[in-house]
Symmetry: C2
Subunit: 361 residues, 2 copies
């Protein structure tokens, strides 16, 4: 058996071991084709099935109907930050954004480069410690869309409600919490997620587009930037990031086999409870950086009493087999990322480690 750490990386992050073993098994000969998936034509029946299955599984797990397009594209979520305003922000309409920290700030930066950005809400003045509430959202009647970031990996916050927009298209970056819990995905008109947290390897981005949004796309865009290109061709206009889609398909199957989002949510709830309970028990030692009602299930962020203790925590964690506990370089501290592939046992072990660390230090 291969040596495996307990991986709390913030992304790219842990993948299910079962998925990796399947990838390893099929690497030289994908299902009797005599070649790797990486060597297979994207026009082959084998890849067509992978592409179709990944699309159908994503829809099934999210409860999406025929009025949604699911496409797989390259370039990462960062590319979507620009493509969204390029496609949808025109005709004098502003794109509205809620600023909840680093990733939404980056999305906002691109909107400003491209056109008219309206800041609908922000928790910047409170160091992004919370998610703005519905009543604090200032949304113009004629906004092109409202863009939110459902989970904020660096500040450790997450939306626990879906904003009401009164008919204005709701767009969400779900890169770091997609498929981690039940959610009414039908309330979104457009959402996207870089694969490297809950879906698969980096290099492929899942984009979901409600049919009516296609009619809102600006004409005259370059072909690869226009979302209609990929919807019409079912992600096969050009050569897709095929290996990434293949691994994503296996991850989606793994989610379905576990019992879908009900089961995933149940485990994820236990995982985050295990860690937050220790934090709350010793709240003057493990100081959470997010307000309680905005806490992320995916990224538990905290500061210890001082930086030396934080360094010691990370170093001793590494000795205990835990990887990726360091906070983002922009904020420091400790971050425990609990994406889908982190096991309940892994979360419990880090919680136990926290208890022991506290009692000894």
């Amino acid at each position: 058996m291969a040596y495996r750490v307990i991986n709390f990386n913030p992304g790219p992050s842990a993948l299910p071991l079962d998925v990796l073993m399947k990838v390893q098994e099929e690497l030289l000969d994908y299902r009797g084709t005599g070649m790797s998936v990486m060597e297979s034509s994207h026009r082959s029946p084998e890849y067509d099935e992978i592409n179709e299955q990944a699309m159908l599984l994503a829809k099934e797990l999210m409860g999406l109907g025929d009025d949604y397009h699911v496409i797989f594209v390259g370039g990462g979520a960062s590319t979507q930050f620009a493509y969204i305003p390029l496609n949808f922000m025109h005709g004098g309409k502003a794109g509205a954004y809620i600023d909840t920290g680093t990733w939404s700030t980056k999305a906002i930066k691109e909107a400003k480069i491209i056109g008219d950005m309206h800041l609908a809400a922000s928790s910047k003045d409170a160091e992004y410690r919370f998610i703005p509430k519905q009543k604090d959202i200032d949304l113009p009647n004629d906004a092109a869309y409202l863009h939110i970031t459902t989970n904020n990996t660096i500040k450790g916050t997450q939306y626990h409600y879906i904003p009401e927009t009164g008919g204005i298209p709701l767009i969400a970056d779900m890169s770091s919490d997609i498929l981690s819990r039940r959610m009414d995905f039908n309330k979104f008109d457009f959402f996207y997620a870089g694969a490297q947290k809950n879906l698969g390897p980096s290099g492929v981005t899942l984009v979901v587009i409600k049919e009516h949004m296609l009619s809102k796309i600006k004409d005259g865009l370059p072909t690869m930037i226009d979302y209609r290109t990929h919807c019409e061709k079912k992600s096969l206009f050009n050569t897709p990031p095929a290996f990434g889609v293949y691994v994503m398909k296996l991850v989606l199957e793994w989610i379905k086999d576990r019992g879908g989002l009900d089961a995933v949510e149940d485990v994820n709830r236990q995982k985050k409870d295990a860690v937050y309970e220790v934090m709350d028990e010793h709240s003057d030692y493990f100081k959470g950086t997010a307000e309680k009602d905005s806490r992320s299930w995916m990224n538990v962020t905290m500061r210890l009493p001082n930086e030396d203790l934080e360094k010691k925590f990370i170093a001793e964690g590494k000795e205990a087999g835990f990887i990726g506990l360091k906070g983002h370089r922009s904020v420091g501290g400790i971050r425990v990322s609990l994406y889908n592939a982190v096991t309940l046992e892994g979360a419990q072990r880090v919680a136990e480690f926290m208890e022991n660390f506290k009692s000894k230090n």
Copy 2:
């Protein structure tokens, strides 16, 4: 040992077996890290080394100095068709293009969407059977650049000279013949290649930019579209297509271990000679679609006396263990793709098969 076909796929295409075996071996535990490369942070020392090594190996194999940036991006070469004019075609200057069939036609389409396209040469009227000669290139003195497609997978043609541009930046799509032969890469100001033919899996594109081109980039572009972003951050501005870069690094090492481009060219010459010799011997049976002086070393394209024979050829080829011999759906016929990972033995076996097929049919 895994079952393996002889893979003549036009792209995605064969990868070196040694590379695939290495990927398989390291899949669950990359060099003692206890995790897959897919699970590793792109900010980790391990990935940093992969990224740096891939960049240095690419430069070394191509003989490029410090005045070149080598970056790895997502989105495929098709995305570059738009990004190139978005970055470089401005200030009233036209982008000049040579049209040698499907892929250059697609690049031209994007240039027309974005700005002022100048057609410098074309072999369209001759069904793209040849590569236009230097004397036929009509290049305005103030063109922003000249764009060529060095190898044309569908029409089976390839440049066997590098156009002189009199100081106008030379840009090339090398997706289907990069690193297949010696070439003075220093004559190019910008070139790019989707990985899925000679470099690795689909989903990562190699882009090479000469330093002076950075000062020609239009200001005010979205961050991910502006090439300066990726040059400055050495492909690590956002999460890169890490697994693809890792496989590409292994492919580049494999090329270096074989003896670099001298050795690769030598084998590729023997491969294409083996196939073209049979074609020339029976030139009224295996009818090449490219003129002799424009023939591609990478994609040998031909028609048989009738479509029934072509179907039979493909079917019997499959029985013999050959995959991917069907011509592109847009042109039909037969195509034998001989990318770097196709072995000399593979090429000789398909040549022998052609001989036998001809004598029996």
